[in-house]
């Protein structure tokens, strides 16, 4: 396991970097925000992602994908973060693909081609409260004929209202708090009894609240094993946590670069403010924090790609550390920009908003610090 990119990975980084910079820079996010887009992202861009091969990075070669790993997915995510590019990449091409890899051939054949083509969007219906607690899932799935009937509600389903299919985590047995007894279902967006209410979130994405009122699905809709959903869900969570951490490394680095540029230009008291030692020390400290976050994320990606059980621990280390570093970066960024940092016209505030939303995605700093403690036996 090497903690540096190999040649292929460096090439991918360069191409993802150039692509996001030219096709989906911050101005792209502004455009879709200001047109009050109800998806919160561009379907055309999603198709371009597919043309670049990004959408199939984690799809196995046997299923027509590139069969690459989490390092490669993370490379794309970092560039997405750096440019605040709005896209369904994290939910669809990382988390959903990780789930669908555990599905049978029929389901894979149904969804992978659309993802590969940049035509399909999948939403992850996981959260039932304001904070992330996957083991507490209570949404009920009862046996009904050949299939199941789902009842309950979900929230913070990013791009849920634009999704063609929703992966719904439900309880088929046991009680909230138990990891046994969960089952994952692929639920069609048009299923009877499914209603949605979408709201724009602080980062200009759209997130939905779902109500499932006796939604009927057939047995084919089950992803993985009935009552054994935790195994697949764990993989989804590790991928989503590591992936969102990678995106946050991009967000934090993007904010940091903006800020450092500003420090080198802005004059006050007759000096460029980057000359002030107090700001220099804070800048250097911030740089160190972002570097540590980058390393933690790369380690988690390595463990995931090696199928090493330590991925569990390092996904949490990565999400927590990326959360800390990225949050520091956007806070220092706004403060060091001074008044103009508070204006909508400057980009730094958009980085702060994205940080906040990503921070909540699949567990915040505090959730993951707690998890690190628990995994270490205290």
């Amino acid at each position: 396991m090497a903690m540096t990119y190999n040649e292929d990975q460096s090439m991918l980084r360069d191409s993802a970097h150039d692509f996001m910079k030219s096709e989906a820079p911050v101005a792209h996010l502004r455009k879709y925000r200001d047109m009050d887009c109800k998806d919160g992202f561009s379907h055309d861009l999603w198709k371009q992602f597919a043309e670049m091969g990004f959408t199939g990075i984690l799809i196995p070669e046997a299923d027509g994908g590139l069969g690459m790993g989490h390092i490669e997915a993370g490379i794309v995510l970092e560039e997405i973060g750096r440019n605040l590019s709005p896209s369904p990449f994290l939910s669809t091409s990382v988390v959903a693909v990780e789930a669908l890899k555990a599905a049978d051939k029929a389901m894979r054949d149904r969804w992978f081609p659309g993802i590969l083509a940049g035509e399909t969007v999948i939403g992850i219906a996981l959260e039932e409260g304001k904070k992330h607690h996957p083991e507490k899932i209570a949404l009920k799935a009862e046996r009904s004929g050949n299939g199941f009937k789902l009842s309950g509600s979900k929230q913070f389903v990013v791009q849920g209202s634009s999704a063609d299919m929703l992966i719904v985590a439900a309880r088929t047995a046991g009680a909230a708090g138990e990891t046994d007894g969960l089952t994952l279902f692929a639920v069609d967006k048009d299923a009877a009894g499914l209603s949605m209410e979408a709201a724009r979130t602080v980062d200009s994405a759209m997130a939905a609240r779902l109500d499932l009122n006796g939604v009927e699905v057939t047995a084919d809709a089950v992803i993985g094993d009935v009552n054994g959903g935790w195994a697949v869900l764990s993989k989804m969570l590790n991928a989503g946590r590591t992936g969102s951490a990678a995106e946050m490394v991009g967000v934090g680095t993007g904010a940091m670069d903006l800020t450092f540029d500003y420090l080198k230009q802005r004059k006050q008291f007759g000096r460029v403010i980057g000359e002030f030692q107090a700001l220099q020390h804070r800048a250097a400290h911030l740089y160190g924090e972002m570097e540590m976050a980058r390393s933690a994320v790369l380690k988690a990606q390595n463990f995931l790609d090696d199928d090493d059980p330590r991925a569990e621990l390092y996904a949490s280390v990565a999400k927590a550390k990326a959360g800390l570093a990225c949050n520091l970066s956007v806070r220092e960024g706004v403060q060091m920009h001074g008044g103009i940092g508070m204006t909508d016209e400057y980009d730094i505030g958009l980085y702060m908003k994205r940080d906040r939303a990503l921070s909540e995605f699949m567990g915040d700093i505090y959730f993951h610090a707690d998890r690190v403690a628990k995994l270490n036996g205290y």
């Binding site: 409260g129 006050q268 403060q335 204006t343 909508d344 707690d370």
Partner: protein
């Protein structure tokens, strides 16, 4: 019964008798606050009545002299009045930069004529004021300001641009720092008052990251300002401005103290059972918050008795604003994905998120944290160097 106790009884009865029931509920948002001024549209009869009754009794500015529109209360009486207002959950009858900022400066630096002319208008909420300090090139470095007033005998002709003028688009008059001597950096600035309807004044709201636009850019194109509208001496406006900044800092530093709940964690108690680390962060924050509350009290006691260092308000501003930012970071964490919503009824159109973003300006406006720390190091700790 002591004099103060009988004053308390009296003022309590007055509030009881005069404050409409509607004015004893919290304001429903920024639009529901009374700012007064020529163009202000009252939101209700109760709001109008409450302002008029308070103004009549001098209680919009209880500690100002009666001839200036105040009630002439002593500091001890003023404190009691504020306690009784809080006790009755009575709204402030009037939010006003005239009361908070210009008034104190006029009381200290204004001519007798200016006091008689402007202060009663301010007290009655007839004129809404804004503040013209910052310029695009001079944020923390305020004295580098470039807006210039050319001497034309009995008036100045002002040209230049201000930024961060709060509610300039809604204000009737501005108090404004204008360079009147290009040779002298500090002693070349004058403190002028003028009407925002004077030809040549234009404003442009600035959209903030919170989505709101409380600030403007303000442009002056050959604006004529009569000489009698200067406060204090020619070229000594910096003294007035510094005095005012001190007041502003006190005001802003109060933010960390938290008017309402003592404990931040206590407000989220139901949610914290499953969040041990967040609970710990809130507990550590509450230590700071409660310590700061005690500290604000000590500061006020020392300030009033003249024991506080003159630069101490800079320290208060630094601590209070940093703490308030931290508070709102934790509020957002405690609120989780509920508080991420930005456009939804459920979230009151993202109120928590917008409030959180608003706090980021606390440590910038009225002097950045960095400038505050510079001042504390040099003036209070007597550290060497430039």
């Amino acid at each position: 019964m002591s004099d103060l106790e009988s004053f308390r009884t009296e003022i309590r009865a007055w509030i009881e008798a005069n404050c409409p029931a509607e004015m004893r509920t919290p304001a429903r948002g920024d639009d529901d606050v009374c700012w007064g001024g020529r163009n202000f549209v009252f939101q209700s009869d109760a709001q109008k009545a409450w302002l008029e009754r308070c103004a009549e009794a001098g209680l919009t500015v209880p500690d100002w002299p009666k001839e200036c529109g105040g009630a002439g209360l002593s500091p001890a009486e003023t404190k009691i009045f504020r306690q009784e207002m809080a006790r009755a959950s009575a709204r402030s009858p009037l939010n006003s930069f005239g009361i908070w900022m210009l008034g104190p400066a006029l009381l200290k630096f204004g001519s007798e004529e200016q006091k008689r002319h402007y202060l009663p208008q301010i007290a009655r909420g007839e004129i809404r004021w804004c503040q013209g300090y910052s310029e695009p090139g001079s944020g923390s470095d305020l004295v580098s300001l470039q807006t210039f007033g050319q001497d034309k005998g009995d008036h100045w002709v002002v040209n230049g641009q201000k930024i961060w003028t709060s509610y300039a688009d809604k204000a009737d008059w501005i108090f404004c720092l204008v360079r009147t001597d290009k040779e002298n950096k500090y002693q070349g600035i004058s403190f002028l008052l003028f009407d925002m309807t004077t030809p040549g004044v234009t404003t442009k709201p600035i959209k903030l990251i919170s989505g709101n636009s409380p600030f403007c850019e303000t442009f002056f194109d050959n604006v004529v300002v009569p000489k009698h509208q200067i406060v204090g001496e020619l070229n000594r406006g910096w003294d007035v401005a510094k005095y005012l900044l001190g007041h502003e800092r006190e005001m802003i530093s109060g933010m960390g103290g938290d008017g309402g709940t003592a404990s931040l964690g206590g407000g989220f108690k139901d949610a914290l059972g499953d969040e041990p680390i967040l609970r710990a962060q809130l507990a550590m924050f509450d230590v700071e918050s409660l310590a700061f509350r005690a500290h604000s009290e000590r500061f006020m006691d020392e300030w009033k008795t003249g024991k506080a260092h003159p630069a101490y308000s800079n320290l208060m501003k630094y601590i209070g604003t940093e703490l308030n930012k931290k508070r709102h970071e934790l509020v957002m964490a405690a609120g989780g994905s509920d508080y991420l919503e930005w456009e939804s009824k459920r979230s009151n159109e993202g109120k928590r998120a917008r409030d959180w973003l608003r706090t980021k300006a606390n440590s910038i406006e009225g002097g950045t944290s960095e400038v505050m720390l510079n001042v504390v190091a040099k003036r209070i700790l007597d550290m060497p160097g430039a």
